[in-house]
Symmetry: none
Subunit: 414 residues, 2 copies
Amino acid sequence: MRLEVVNTGTELLLGQVVNTHVAYFGDQLLPLGIRIQRQSTIPDGDAIGELLKEVFPRTDVVLITGGLGPTSDDVTREVIAELLGRELRLDESLVEHIRKIFARYNRVMPESNARQAMVPDGAVVLDNPFGTAPGLYFPAEAGQHPHLFILPGPPRELKPMFQAEVLPRLKAMVEGTGRVTTFRNFRVIGVGESQLAEVLEPNLLEIGGMEIGYCARLGEVDVRVIGPTDRLDLAEALVRQHFPDQLINSDGRSLEETLVGLLTERKLWLATAESCTGGMIACKVTDVPGSSAVFRQGYVTYANEAKTELLGVPEAMLAEHGAVSEPVAQAMAEGALQRAGTDYAVAVTGIAGPGGGTPSKPVGTVYIAVACRNQETFVKRYQFAAERLGFKERTTRMAMELVRRRILGLDPNA
Amino acid sequence: MRLEVVNTGTELLLGQVVNTHVAYFGDQLLPLGIRIQRQSTIPDGDAIGELLKEVFPRTDVVLITGGLGPTSDDVTREVIAELLGRELRLDESLVEHIRKIFARYNRVMPESNARQAMVPDGAVVLDNPFGTAPGLYFPAEAGQHPHLFILPGPPRELKPMFQAEVLPRLKAMVEGTGRVTTFRNFRVIGVGESQLAEVLEPNLLEIGGMEIGYCARLGEVDVRVIGPTDRLDLAEALVRQHFPDQLINSDGRSLEETLVGLLTERKLWLATAESCTGGMIACKVTDVPGSSAVFRQGYVTYANEAKTELLGVPEAMLAEHGAVSEPVAQAMAEGALQRAGTDYAVAVTGIAGPGGGTPSKPVGTVYIAVACRNQETFVKRYQFAAERLGFKERTTRMAMELVRRRILGLDPNA
């Protein structure tokens, strides 16, 4: 099945917004064995008409995003209706839906929003529970046009619509062809991409019959293999053999989901004590639905006084060793464990930059401590080369990972 | 000047890597008055040849990224040389450069890397101080092809090369035409995109001579106008007149940068008390370099006990009104203000979902409170329709915005 993506949006070409749709679609389509053959971005306005004329003859499905809003630069609906020679008609039930969304916020629907309820003849309306712009689906017409899915630009509206309305339809089309692709994603933390490839690649090539891909994010690498199930099993055994402590899962769950799952399963409570990450660890943990069963409280102790007042870190210790030090990290974790009365506590203290570095503790230095009942507190120093936000993210990830390893009795130094 | 971007890279279409090149180029080109007219992504391999044949007749400049690496799927150099009918010749000084890069890591250059030193006749070599793949520039030849810039895929190699080798050449081309474009971005919080457009659009159209665009994110809308400076001033006056309380800036800074800037300027301290956002407000505030001058500590009080212990919220109040209630939000903010000894404190308590909603307090309900010295605590209930992470983000944004408005004495209800 040939599929192309067409993104409309002047903001995508002006540098204001990074286009995340393509990676999202690619990720979602891969398990169906569908590859994006080409992706194009054009500004808001009429340009989409010309582009679609080029795209139609060379593909089976087009995913179109953006231009369904209420403002004058949103013309996707109208341009496509004209291109396909369809009349636009007002769908009263959609007007009602949009009116209700405004009413929910005690607002009256502006007249300009009524345009979003205009539906071209023959189009299937795709429900948008998170916004006023419904999506549209035009089933393919031989010799005329391929399958067209038109989706709203905002990711929070696009993603649920893609899941509920687009994916099942594509699945049905693919299943019709009898072609199914299986893949597995090994998520590994604490090993570099090249080291991972150096160890795994010769062995994976020996197993053979798989496509192998790597994707490195801050402090985390995904090894993705596509192929028949029996090969995937061999690949998984291989990864488990070489990286038993670092493989966090092969089912696509994030580290925070994995950690919260583990804590829930074992009925354990976690507390956080954060300096340089400024609340990011607590935020990631509470991103997971159901995290209230494992997380009651967290401390963001950015200043020294806060470390003393909220976590009981001795002032003398701060004066002697500095806030970014092994004893302070340990005292923070143990203070949080004791005061929050949890089973585990994780603490971080480091230098996010751009300022604050010294020769012995340059920007990127961080101490992470994990305290737990009945075990010695573990503290480790890391040096993360990344700008401020990347540093916060890497530290957050490694902090969660160290808790996971402590719970499972794995080597935290691996 | 017409410009297109062509990105090659299978990983961009498989969901593993988000394409950040386009936003980077757009951002860099805007001050030169150059718009990206179209952007296309294709997989590694031969597809680039076909695509460029389409692109050549309709544009003046093409920026091409990727496919300059040493592996078998990197063929951009060869395909373009063939397309333009140029011979490839080995550049010995480039071989030397690549050898040196390997030597820096105590490694011997693999033979496959010598391919990167092959230069097509008539191409200008673009220096790559951060990697082994040099870039290439083919000046336009009338009737044959537009200006072609071929750049390496990794951002840390692409960006310095773009700055040093591409931008100055494009600048020289543009200056020849005497055309300069200015733009301004009005960031507005707490007003819907359609309401904003309804009020602004007729007036902006009356001023005339500008291009207008909107970009809505969770709880925040950017209104972007492009045109001569005198029109931009009129547009800004208009936005200030109609949305004096909701316009946060016109200089592109984020809300957190704006808020931290304001607190710093006025030497004010802020504390956070978070339930449903789980630390996200503290995390956003501390994303800003220098935030340690305004932020000492934050409380993540996810459970009721934590609200009582850390913030002094009375148990009886929690039992009577529930954790998601006006009095609890107020008590959290006032507790944080008092215990942290700050000038301002912001508290949030709400239902992020997917579970936990009730008929009177459905998922998406949140109370935000801002406490400050010498002023009554302000509390407001919001209903945000978004999934868990979107809800956290919207709540975080509105919480920071309410602090900004309280500091500036603006209407928090606007």
